[in-house]
């Protein structure tokens, strides 16, 4: 199939009118330091799990911010909570706590 470039793709775009940011706001309440993130990518660049997998903590928390929660719980399992990301974040985001809270919220709100 790939040879001919045919594939059925689900349309991918962010629809900011439809998306629900409820879980994102729960996250901000529990870990307000996340409001300060300015998307520099230091956390994902230094991440221990990132060295061996395609896990990107910045992509995960940005997806969360955009209300795109699908598959995030699976991805977050790759994090080993080492805390290196927290050490380098120039905006002082408490990433370790952020990760734990993302997991908890995803778990609590599972449909």
């Amino acid at each position: 199939m790939n040879k001919f470039g045919f594939a059925i793709k689900t349309p991918r775009s962010e629809n900011m009118d439809k998306v629900s940011l409820e879980r994102y706001h729960m996250l901000l309440d529990r870990e307000p330091s996340f409001k300060r993130c300015f998307q520099c990518g230091c956390c994902s660049a230094t991440c221990s799990a990132r060295q061996f997998t395609d896990f990107s903590i910045r992509r995960v928390h940005t997806s969360f911010r955009r209300g795109e929660y699908e598959g995030l719980d699976e991805q977050l399992k790759q994090c080993m909570l080492c805390g290196k990301c927290t050490l380098v974040c120039p905006r002082g985001v408490n990433l370790r706590s952020l990760i734990i809270n993302m997991r908890q919220i995803l778990d609590e709100t599972k449909q």
Partner: protein
């Protein structure tokens, strides 16, 4: 005749001194170094027009010869005291001077890059600061750790600025355009050498800056990567390996470079911090606080005590010079209002 003391012989102090002297005010200019303008002398070319820093320094030095200015070098003013009608200045050797009005023009110092240990400054020879790069450009000697011509030079923005870990949340304002300026210079001096800039935001706020950025892309092939380098380490052959995320691609990025240039921010100088504290005019991050940034940006709120230039916040040379002229006018009005 009324006497004005100016502390710091950088662009701010010298410009204010010459304006005041031409208005018939007697000025004494104190400089702690043995020569004036060291923060201009250590630069190669100045953005946005690539004018030789030496030329600007010579022009300013010439103004020191204006009648009515006494320049005293090698004097570090450490304390200021209001005596009811005049200011007493005290230097590090306990000598004192008096003046009717004082202008604080004590400027900035660059962020000490050793404080960002993960970036390897002072550990690996291939990691240098933007100030070291100014020297290399000035002397036409851009060389890697082994003393050879580099094949790749990489600039990292916001070192010691916009960084909670170094205690500086502010933007230093001049380093984005300085990186573009230096990347162009590298490409001019060594056309075979690649130049890349790692940025989070490119702040091209001044006239001509955006055009410099375009020229860097179009004419000099400088590449721009959106990401912040989080770690640097040396390779066996003394090159530097760096780790970042390419945030636009969402992918981790590894790269080896001959020189990693840390764009260090502007902090309040030691003199600025000390005098700010001594007179209770110290504001955010140790810069001098003024009454209001809109209308009274040279007034400190203390009688006869004024401030100009980069002792207030990061500033370019022309912002500094304009600010100094504004301060000179405020001081002239103040001394004219005093009883004869």
């Amino acid at each position: 005749m009324k006497k004005v003391a100016i502390i710091g012989a950088g662009p701010a102090g010298i410009e204010a001194a010459s304006v005041l002297a031409r208005q018939g005010v007697q000025v004494t200019l104190f400089e702690k170094s043995e020569s004036p303008l060291k923060n201009i002398q250590d630069k190669a070319f100045l953005f946005p027009n690539f004018q030789a820093a030496q030329e600007v320094a010579d022009d300013l030095s010439g103004k020191l010869l204006t009648d009515g200015i006494t320049t005293i070098l090698g004097v570090d003013i450490t304390d200021l005291k209001w005596q009811g009608t005049e200011w007493k200045l005290i230097d590090s050797k306990e000598q004192t001077y008096v003046a009717d009005a004082v202008l604080v023009a004590t400027g900035y110092q660059v962020f000490d890059a050793h404080r960002k240990e993960e970036l390897g400054y002072g550990i690996y020879k291939g990691v240098i600061t933007s100030l070291d790069m100014e020297q290399m450009i000035k002397h036409g000697k851009i060389l890697n750790a082994n003393g050879d011509e580099p094949k790749r030079v990489t600039f990292l923005q916001c070192v010691g600025s916009r960084d909670e870990k170094s205690g500086n949340n502010y933007c230093s304002k001049i380093c984005c355009v300085t990186a573009v300026k230096q990347a162009i210079e590298v490409r001019k001096q060594i056309p075979a050498c690649e130049a890349s800039v790692f940025y989070m935001d490119l702040r091209m706020w001044g006239q001509g800056f955006e055009e410099m950025y375009r020229t860097a892309q179009e004419k000099y092939g400088v590449s721009f990567v959106r990401g912040r380098i989080s770690e640097a380490a040396a390779t066996f052959d003394s090159r530097i390996q760096l780790k970042s995320e390419d945030t636009l691609m969402g992918l981790p990025l590894k790269m080896t470079t001959d020189l990693l240039v840390l764009m260090v921010g502007m902090e309040a100088s030691c003199g600025t911090k000390a005098l700010g504290k001594a007179c209770d005019i110290s504001g955010d991050y140790g810069f001098i606080r003024t009454v209001s940034p809109h209308l009274y940006d040279n007034d400190t709120g203390k009688p006869g005590l004024f401030a100009a230039g980069s002792c207030k916040r990061p500033m370019s040379v022309w912002d500094t010079v304009n600010d100094a002229r504004a301060a000179a006018l405020a001081i002239k009005e103040y001394v004219d209002s005093l009883p004869q």
